[in-house]
């Protein structure tokens, strides 16, 4: 029997980086899952939560709960949103919220820990800088199996930007380090940080492409 996963693409990927969501769906389908997208979904509530507006975060969390209550697995391309849901849903709702929180997975961790695949058969023939992951993320383990990928390291990811809460721009020094690294691509694990970096690279005039982990894993 085919197992089913429900995508939670997050508001940022839905509106600003749909390619990452589509790539994620493709990788999951190749890993043998039936992939569904529930159009009732919107946001996990993190923008409000990080601004200190718990009340609205809870209301939006409750909407998430209604949208995904009976989902077997909820897979999302964002570590930060997965963490928000795993940690906060149990505070916002009853037993159902607690149970659903445990079925929410960040995409890379889902592949490694639930689907038990590390080599997804991807080929990505570029020299790329891998954006440092925040929190638990299995991106680096998955990328190790990507054929043709040459990883370029950049030291010190301090100042890599923040979108919600007290927003922070990407530090120009970091942009310069990436610009001088010789890489043609930056691979990001988190859409919002990837987008902030994309904009900063554009503004600084660097011709470096930014792609989401899912897009790399989907490429052949």
């Amino acid at each position: 029997m085919t197992k089913r996963v429900s995508l939670f693409v997050t508001c940022v990927v839905d509106q600003l980086l749909p390619s990452a969501g589509l790539a994620m769906a493709e990788v999951l389908a190749r890993a043998g899952y039936e992939v569904e997208f529930r159009p009732a979904q919107t946001c996990c509530g993190r923008p409000a939560y990080e601004a200190g507006c718990r009340e609205q975060a809870q209301l939006v969390g409750e909407h998430f709960l209604r949208s995904f209550a009976d989902a077997e697995y909820v897979v999302t391309p964002s570590t930060a949103c997965a963490t928000m849901l795993r940690k906060r849903l149990p505070e916002f709702g009853g037993l159902a919220a607690r149970e659903l929180a445990g079925r929410v997975w960040e995409f890379s961790r889902f592949l490694v820990e639930v689907a038990r695949v590390e080599d997804v058969g991807a080929r990505f023939e570029h020299a790329a800088v891998v954006q440092e992951a925040e929190g638990l993320n299995c991106g680096p383990r998955l990328l190790a199996h990507v054929k043709g990928l040459e990883q370029v390291s950049v030291s010190d990811w301090a100042g890599s930007g923040k979108l919600w809460g007290r927003g922070e721009p990407v530090s120009p020094a970091l942009v310069n380090r990436i610009g001088a690294s010789g890489a043609s691509h930056v691979i990001g694990m988190e859409a919002e940080r990837l987008l902030l970096l994309r904009r900063a690279l554009e503004k600084a005039g660097h011709a470096i492409e930014t792609v989401h982990l899912a897009e790399v894993l989907a490429s052949r």
Binding site: C43, A48, G52, L59
Partner: protein
């Protein structure tokens, strides 16, 4: 790190320990310690107390509620970056009951330090003191560091109800320790530092050295409260997040808002312009 900063950080990191010590000491000295969640519960407690002891309250329960809110403005006051002076005590029925706010609580001595109080007289029959849980200091000698920081010049100490042979002091002493959102603040690494505040007022505009230059307990008064002040309206349900929350619960409205975002995208939002189609649009079309 300056001495006051060091002491306050230490207290916050070991708050449960010092609250337990304070409780043990003050109780041993004949005081009562009550833990309440917020101003509402303080008001309920005061109402019950006055009713039980048959103390008339001019203005009734409503005035007790207002006073409870002044005594315990809750953690919102910190988040708004306010440093209100400790409110004046409320005295009822000619000294039958006095309700005050504490400036500090001293764990090792089981003592309550009140400022801006007029000592004089034998004191009330029942003294109730309301204090946020963060008011505690480890040792009596820490006051030498902190009292000079406060704007008030009169200080009074309470270490329990009046003992045999003592000339003044209340017959009953009750300390109400209020959480009021503080433990949640304590759990937030970004905001915890705010609880180091001792309400010295150095950061208030119009004061000598004011404007947030020299916070004696090392709070980033320039950055943190300013940012929090901007955010604080959200905390109590600012219209922007109420609107956002409404939209995020209505998927159709959310999709429409996304289209508006595309149609009226602005450079200065600091993100790359969105692609023509959202994920949900692309998904729908792909499934057709």
């Amino acid at each position: 790190m300056t001495k006051p900063t060091e002491i306050r950080s230490h207290v916050l990191a070991n708050l449960d320990h010092y609250l337990a010590e304070l409780d043990k000491q003050l109780t041993a000295q004949g005081g009562t310690v009550v833990y309440l969640r917020g101003a509402d519960e303080v008001a309920d407690y005061l109402e019950l107390l006055t009713r039980e002891r048959e103390i008339p309250v001019p203005g009734g329960a409503e005035s007790l509620r207002r006073h409870a809110e002044r005594l315990e403005p809750g953690v919102e006051a910190y988040l708004r970056g306010e440093s209100p002076a400790d409110p004046e005590s409320l005295e009822l029925a000619d000294g039958a009951l006095r309700i005050s706010a504490a400036a500090f609580l001293i764990a090792d001595a089981g003592a309550i330090c009140l400022t801006g109080e007029h000592p004089g007289g034998t004191g009330p029959k029942i003294q109730v003191v309301v204090a946020g849980i963060e008011k505690v200091l480890p040792r009596m000698r820490d006051l030498a560091v902190f009292l000079p920081l406060l704007p008030s010049d009169t200080t009074r100490f309470l270490t329990g109800p009046r003992r045999a042979g003592e000339l003044d002091g209340p017959e009953e002493l009750c300390l109400i320790l209020v959480d009021g959102g503080r433990s949640e603040l304590l759990a937030s690494p970004e905001r915890r530092d705010l609880l180091r505040c001792v309400r010295c007022g150095a950061c208030l505009p119009g004061r000598v050295g004011g404007g947030g230059v020299d916070c004696p307990v090392g709070i980033d008064t320039e950055g943190l409260p300013l940012r929090l002040r901007e955010e604080a309206p959200l905390e109590v349900g600012g219209w922007k997040f109420r609107l956002w929350g409404y939209v995020m619960r209505k998927p159709r409205l959310y999709e429409f808002a996304g289209q508006m975002l595309r149609a009226f995208w602005r450079e200065e939002w600091g993100l790359p312009a969105p692609p023509a189609k959202s994920f949900r649009q692309a998904w729908r079309e792909g499934k057709k």
